[in-house]
């Protein structure tokens, strides 16, 4: 167990007690809490993509921002043209990114690494959906513009998807251990983490389960990887230096995201808040995942 898993465990116990007190938390309160933590930790973990990129690759600033913002724009357009396809792309991209951030230090050939990352991330997302499929279908059906996604929630298909991806991931991790590519300490930690994630997704509602994973096991962990990178470049690099680096772009992103969400909330934008949130997260994820892939591999 590392420190992030420890924080995760502490939060699970804290939530146990919250649920012991309230039994159920209304959807609006869940969304409010989740948005707060995702904005506070999720946005900053991708706020220094440009800094990381220029540490790893040489490119003119103009070219970088054109590509970066161009990808965001292209993905926004795709969302309005083909929402279901965009949603699937978003899930695949997220799966790879989650898997990569978790298992990046495992030494494997590129094609096996890619397969492992996809498998880990897909197992995570499949489990999240499978354990909460009815709740998710209900939330999706609440809004006119998210109704289309209901076709995705087929319990039978998701069961097989969940079972196969999880079986493959666990077998792959087991294989790595028996091939001496993974120490016993790491192997047991990974298996424990998978179990813990399953327990979280099973016990808690969809939004809370995902937020717990995304904030602690992804965003905070990635920020730590970023911090360690800067620290390896400059030994006197402090947490304060890191926060100073994160802040300007985090504030900008949080500001614009909040404005967009408020516009949608008050009906000025003709789009539901959850749909807008999915679009915002996905369009940020696309260039972020690409930059992080470069960051991890160079």
């Amino acid at each position: 167990m590392n420190r992030f898993t420890f924080i995760f465990v502490v939060c699970i116990y804290a939530l146990f007690l919250v649920f012991q007190a309230f039994v159920e938390i209304p959807l609006n309160n869940q969304l409010l809490g989740a948005s707060f933590f995702i904005l506070l930790f999720g946005i900053p973990h991708g706020a220094i993509d440009h800094v990381l990129f220029f540490r790893k690759r040489k490119m003119s600033q103009l070219k970088f921002y054109t590509i970066y913002l161009g990808l965001i724009l292209a993905f926004i357009l795709l969302w309005f043209w083909q929402p279901v396809i965009s949603f699937v792309i978003f899930l695949l991209l997220s799966a790879f990114h989650f898997g990569e951030s978790q298992l990046v230090d495992i030494k494997l050939k590129l094609k096996w690494r890619t397969l492992l990352f996809f498998s880990w991330g897909l197992a995570l997302l499949a489990s999240l959906v499978y354990y909460n499929i009815h709740e998710l279908a209900d939330i999706t059906a609440l809004f006119q513009d998210t109704k289309d996604f209901s076709v995705v929630y087929n319990e039978r298909i998701f069961f097989w998807f969940y079972a196969l991806t999880n079986a493959f991931t666990v077998l792959a991790i087991g294989y790595l251990f028996f091939s001496d590519l993974l120490s016993f300490k790491r192997f047991s930690s990974e298996i424990f983490l998978i179990g813990l994630i399953h327990l979280t997704f099973y016990l808690f509602p969809f939004i809370i389960g995902f937020t717990l994973y995304f904030v602690i096991l992804h965003s905070i962990m990635v920020m730590n990887q970023e911090f360690q990178f800067f620290k390896s470049e400059r030994t006197d690099f402090s947490v304060l230096d890191f926060l100073k680096l994160l802040m300007p772009y985090s504030f900008l992103s949080i500001f614009f995201t909040t404005v967009l969400v408020l516009l949608a909330y008050h009906g000025i934008l003709n789009i539901s808040v959850p749909f807008l949130a999915i679009i915002i997260i996905s369009v940020i994820t696309l260039p972020h995942a690409i930059v992080m892939n470069i960051f991890y591999n160079k």
Binding site: M1, F16, L17, A21, S188
Partner: protein, 240 residues
């Protein structure tokens, strides 16, 4: 002592595990006491503590078994008496294992206080919960109890215990303490889960109180005997 013969259904798994638990704890105690003679002097106290943990549990399981057979109820009172004695002793094991690396008496007392704190709060939360369940009561004592547990968990994984184990220059001690930390993380998790299954609790619809007893019995046997076996392994390996 002669007991009235109680009829036991073949599918009474709770009763079954009370019997198995009792015998397993008793056998483990005999084993640890006898094996004290085969390890170096510095490990004898650790094995004595291991034997005491399973021995105290065996006596309580003897009473809990009869109580359950006679009433069919959860022997919550006996459980907490058992845990209040055995869990601090498990914490003593952490101290004994890391003593050579510089563990102080203050660490010992901190661990003992945290474990007693955790159990007394848990007992008040569970036993004095009014009929039908009082959420405010169970949450308040649940929070207090959890603080003690989180402290022990932190100490075993990252805090003083973990740091001392790293300093110990013994791979066996390092691995042993890490294994015991896994017991605290995974094995002890059943207790807060059980707490939430009490009447009116969040998980009461997932697991009934009688099912909780089944899991408590299995977890107790694994945690206490397992804990002792890890200590025994360290003692034997370091004595070679």
């Amino acid at each position: 002592m002669l007991l009235d013969i109680q009829v036991m259904r073949p599918d009474d798994y709770v009763g079954f595990t009370f019997f198995i638990g009792y015998m397993a704890m008793f056998a483990a105690s005999v084993f640890f006491f006898f094996e004290r003679g085969s390890v170096d002097d510095k490990w004898k106290l650790s094995l004595l503590i291991s034997g005491l943990i399973t021995g105290i549990a065996a006596v309580h399981y003897f009473y809990m078994r009869d109580y359950y057979m006679a009433t069919g109820d959860n022997p919550t009172f006996f459980r907490y008496v058992d845990w209040t004695l055995t869990v601090p002793l498990m914490c003593v094991e952490f101290y004994l294992l890391t003593r050579a690396a510089g563990a102080t008496k203050s660490l010992l007392w901190k661990l003992i206080i945290a474990s007693v704190w955790m159990l007394v709060a848990g007992y008040i939360g569970e036993s004095f919960n009014p009929e039908g369940g009082d959420t405010a009561h169970s949450v308040k004592w649940g929070v207090i109890s959890t603080i003690g547990y989180i402290y022990i968990l932190y100490a075993a994984w990252f805090g003083e215990v973990a740091q001392l184990a790293e300093k110990s220059n013994s791979e066996v001690v390092k691995k042993g303490v890490r294994t015991l930390a896994w017991f605290v993380l995974v094995g002890w998790a059943i207790y807060p889960i059980g707490y939430m299954c009490m009447e009116g609790g969040w998980l009461s619809s997932v697991m009934s109180p009688s099912d909780v007893d089944l899991w408590y019995n299995i977890a107790d046997a694994i945690n206490k005997i397992g804990f002792g076996l890890v200590v025994y392994n360290i003692a034997v390996t370091e004595s070679k």
